[in-house]
């Protein structure tokens, strides 16, 4: 039989002013199992904690109840104290008579009665606590980074700097992400390649960073410290070890295709590197369009390669590796504006997006840095930029503001003027959101120094007349409707989650919001963590971010990951579910509801029948102790330590124990 001690705290007058603490202590003496009660001014103070330890010895107490503040404040304190008193730290319960009693009630008598009930609940529960041991698991000292954009690259460099090994898995043939497509970047206008390329090279040369490009994560199992990850390395048909990137092959390949990297404004070959500074500088063969693969013709690349690097027989390869932590850096994609009939359903060639414009600005891009009309290649002199396309549009787009399109539009208007001072730039905006360091100043410069014309209003219609685009907008500031005939329209389309975001989230057991953006553990205080311990977020996969924000979160995520890896072993909370295999019927209803995939089936030999049968098995390191399985299990085979059925039923009964009295 448990011997319970109850310690009622005054918290100065925070509790004692409203709750008669002495009365509470007195009445608690009569609760089942309670052998000692007292009240004290400040339980969490050193003398208060000493008091507990002393009384445990003096009265042979085996369980402790502290009636004081919220467990979120001091549960940990008193667990440690309980442990120091020589008891199992889980032989302790807290009765919250401050936040949920003395602070919210005025009537002293009512508050005291309620406090008594609260202590009664805790006493009823603590007697049935199981001794729990914190367990430790070893840590695999490697980090997986999914996505090789600027966020993945920065994270890899930071993790490597801390001395840990990392692997970048990038879906495309080269790392670099969106940033590699740009010419210059706001607000400082440094050339994107100049600041990105050195980082890409650093990644390539680091001994601690392994690059799996043209690869994808296929399956993730395990848990923090011990993730097991299956990675598909798609067949490049080019041997990475032999190729030295001389380019002979793609110069000679006869197949010309639109280049995705160039937003279809330029061409690539069937064997190609997406852009000249690609890392690794090894081409891939586009199997869908290669003549040899499809018709067994051609085969030129193999013939001309001086290093015999071409291997048409290469197959996809799936490898499995172990990691201690995972950083998700999969970035974003662009909203498809072709849903807007009023903007021509994507039919007008000269209605382009910000990314098209970036490629045109780029001097190594498809137009050699000239701003042209895609319809006829003629120089575009009058350019209309439209902001917020697909953003801030609850009706048909995304409800949120994409955060950086105001800035990249300003940048593009500026660069247009720099490329061609004769050109005219018109920007339709609703609000200018330029809250970063030097951002407002930048936008001002674009208007003042570069003479871009800003018009406040959303555009309602774009249509074609005599080969020119007619843009029908409005300037609400002057109260006039405005029609502009333009050579080129550039839509600042919303940044949105990638189409496969949900698949990845499910693989990693991380939540996502209604916009399919990955959700951080806490928006302010844990912005790069997820609720799945060991999985971190960086960059635009979490919300639209510009490069400064992306790099900052990359460094933050790598600090968090390295922090985990710096431990030899990690503790796990023992308040988790456990299965009684005697009772388990093997229905696996529990498996269906577990949000963490912590339940697997296991074959056992039945004790009675000696037959083999299936039962549920819980992986302690994956279980987060939510208790969903517990509720789902009909035979009652699962229980949750710290919140067992017996404890909760006991609590309920304690609340009504004296009910018979009045009859």
């Amino acid at each position: 039989m448990a011997r319970i001690g109850v310690f009622v705290c005054h918290c100065g007058t925070n509790i004692s002013a409203t709750v008669d603490v002495k009365k509470v202590a007195e009445i608690a003496k009569g609760f089942p199992g309670v052998k000692f009660t007292t009240d004290y001014r400040y339980m969490c103070s050193e003398p208060g904690q000493d008091l507990i330890q002393k009384m445990v010895k003096e009265h042979n107490l085996t369980r402790i109840v502290v009636a004081a503040c919220s467990p979120s404040l001091h549960e940990k304190t008193f667990r440690t104290c309980t442990q120091n008193a020589g008891l199992n730290p889980y032989f302790f319960e807290m009765a919250n008579i401050r936040e949920q009693c003395s602070w919210v009630h005025d009537d002293r008598e009512e508050a005291t009665l309620k406090a008594i009930d609260i202590v009664k609940l805790a006493a009823a529960k603590v007697g049935k606590n199981n001794p729990l041991q914190t367990t430790f698991i070893p840590v695999e000292k490697r980090v997986l980074i999914i996505g090789g954009g600027i966020s993945g690259i920065q994270a890899a460099i930071d993790v490597a700097f801390n001395g840990f090994e990392t692997v970048i898995v990038e879906r495309e043939p080269s790392i670099g992400g969106r940033m590699a497509m740009f010419d210059k970047t706001f607000p400082t206008l440094d050339c994107a390649a100049c600041i990105l390329t050195p980082k890409m090279v650093e990644v390539n040369q680091s001994d601690l960073i392994k690059l799996y490009t043209y690869s994808e994560v296929e399956e993730v199992s395990g848990y923090v410290g011990n993730f097991k990850v299956k990675i598909r390395r798609k067949a490049r048909l080019v041997d990475e070890n032999k190729c030295n990137g001389c380019g002979t092959c793609w110069q000679r390949c006869p197949v010309r295709l639109p280049s995705e990297f160039d937003m279809n404004l330029g061409k690539r070959k069937a064997i190609y590197v997406p852009f000249p500074q690609a890392v690794p500088n090894v081409p891939v063969i586009d199997q869908e369009h290669c003549l040899y693969i499809n018709k067994k013709k051609c085969g030129i690349c193999k013939k001309v390669c001086p290093f015999e690097a071409i291997d048409y027989e290469q197959k996809d390869e799936v490898i499995e590796e172990k990691f201690g932590a995972i950083i998700v850096a999969t970035g974003f994609t662009m909203f498809d504006h072709s849903i807007y009939g009023e903007y021509g359903y994507g039919k007008y060639k000269n209605v382009t997006t910000g990314l098209h414009f970036e490629r045109m600005l780029n001097s190594s891009g498809p137009t050699g840095g000239k701003i042209v009309r895609p319809s006829d290649g003629k120089e575009a002199k009058k350019v209309v930029f439209i902001q917020c396309v697909g953003s801030r549009d609850e009706a048909r787009g995304m409800p949120y503001c994409s955060r950086l399109c105001c800035m990249y539009t300003a940048k593009q208007a500026l660069l247009l003027k720099e490329h061609n001072p004769e050109a005219e730039a018109y920007v339709f905006y609703i609000d200018i959101r330029a809250a970063g360091k030097n951002y407002e100043e930048f936008v001002e410069r674009v208007q003042d120094e570069y003479g871009a014309t800003y018009l406040r209003g959303r555009v309602s219609k774009i249509f074609q007349r005599n080969g020119r685009l007619m843009v029908r907008g409005c300037d609400t500031l002057s109260g006039t409707q405005i029609e502009i005939d333009a050579d080129l329209v550039v839509l600042a389309t919303a940044l949105i989650a990638r189409p496969d975001a949900i698949k990845l989230a499910q693989m990693l057991h991380i939540p996502y919001d209604q916009n399919r953006l990955f959700t951080e553990a806490h928006p302010k205080l844990a912005p790069v963590e997820t609720v799945t311990t060991g999985v971190f977020l960086t960059g635009a996969c979490q919300s639209p971010k510009d490069i400064p924000d992306t790099v900052a979160t990359a460094s933050a995520a790598s600090v968090k990951a390295c922090g985990l890896l710096s431990h030899e072993k990690l503790p796990i909370d023992p308040q988790i579910a456990r299965v009684d295999v005697e009772i388990c019927s093997g229905c696996l209803a529990c498996q269906e509801v577990c949000p963490f995939g912590a339940i697997e089936k296991e074959e056992i030999v039945d004790r009675v029948t000696q037959q083999k049968r299936w039962v549920a098995k819980i992986a302690p390191s994956l279980c987060n102790g939510c208790g969903a399985c517990n509720t789902a299990c009909r035979p009652g085979a699962i229980d949750l330590d710290g919140f067992t059925e017996e404890q909760i039923f006991g609590q309920i009964e304690s609340l009504t124990a004296d009910k018979g009295d009045e009859r």
Binding site: G341, E342, F463, Q464, R465, N466
Partner: protein
């Protein structure tokens, strides 16, 4: 044989007789029996909805009840404005129980809920099908360059109408293509023609309809195809005035899609009442289709 209730609306009995005539002829040919709703009343059009919301719902509802009392499950309304008002009334009553109660109080009858409201275009595209139309056609439109003009009320609001696209509708264009004509892509298919301002704010009609005629001409149209008597009247009746104000000749016949369909099905201009148009289409049609 398909049997539907017919709600002609005020215009088809007056300014748009030829729409009435051609629609009825085409239906007969395609095996659709039209039964005019006995004692139907005006739908209230825009004067009702800018005066009293309840009235603007009650008037169409009255007609829906009359149609349902005929024991038919579909009512067809060729005027886009009537079609729009009937559909809106049906939906609003279905979604708003308070309104429904009020309407029933006014009408002294339970409101109709089952009957489906369709526009003739919908009947041709969805019920008859372009394939059948194509098979039955006896004349090809021989590359006649047609700008299809839908107006605003036929496809808006999409949540209520639920037919074709609100910005770039295609049903008439598909019909034209199926009949061998050239359906011109252009951007003013659903721009407003001035609609109900024909008599009150005629200047607005001159301006808006003028833009539409101009855009159609620029797109290379030889004629404009319409599916609404208000559109037709604004573009046809006011065309001379627009020409004068703009100092530009359009000479664009404004045809109902039922007329063009009738011609393709082998009917004559006289049968279809084409002489009633202000901008005379006979020269164009004689030249292009060799019809009389």
């Amino acid at each position: 044989m398909m049997k539907v209730a017919y709600y002609p609306g005020c215009s088809l009995h007056s300014t748009a007789r030829e729409y009435d005539i051609s629609f009825q002829l085409v239906c007969r040919k395609l095996g659709i029996e039209l039964q005019e709703i006995p004692h139907w009343v005006c739908c209230g059009s825009s004067p009702a909805h800018v005066t009293s919301h309840l009235l603007s719902i009650a008037l169409p509802c009255k007609n829906l009840i009359l149609a349902e009392e005929m024991g038919l499950d579909t009512v067809v309304a060729p005027c886009a404005a009537c079609f729009n008002r009937l559909k809106i009334a049906k939906q609003e009553v279905a979604e708003d129980s308070k309104l429904k109660k009020e309407v029933e109080e006014v009408l002294g009858k339970p409101s109709a809920g089952k009957i489906e409201v369709k526009h003739p275009l919908q009947v041709i595209i969805e019920d008859v099908g372009l394939k059948k139309v194509e098979e039955m056609a006896r004349r090809k439109l021989q590359g006649l360059r047609v700008a299809s003009y839908y107006g605003c009320l036929l496809v808006r609001p999409p949540s209520v109408i639920n037919f074709d696209d609100p910005e770039d509708p295609q049903s008439m264009d598909n019909l034209v293509s199926a009949l061998g004509g050239e359906a011109l892509p252009w951007a003013f298919k659903t721009e407003c023609c001035g609609a109900s301002f024909s008599l009150s704010e005629t200047d607005i009609v001159f301006e808006l309809s003028g833009e539409i005629l101009n855009e159609a001409l620029e797109a290379g149209a030889e004629c404009i195809l319409v599916a609404c008597p208000l559109c037709q009247s604004n573009l046809d009746l006011r065309q001379k005035g627009i020409e004068k104000r703009r100092g530009k000749k359009f000479n664009l016949p404004i045809l109902y899609f039922t007329e063009l369909l009738g011609l393709a099905l082998g009917m004559s201009m006289r049968q279809l009442g084409l002489s009633r148009h202000i901008v005379n289409p006979s020269k164009l049609l004689e030249r292009k289709l060799a019809v009389t």
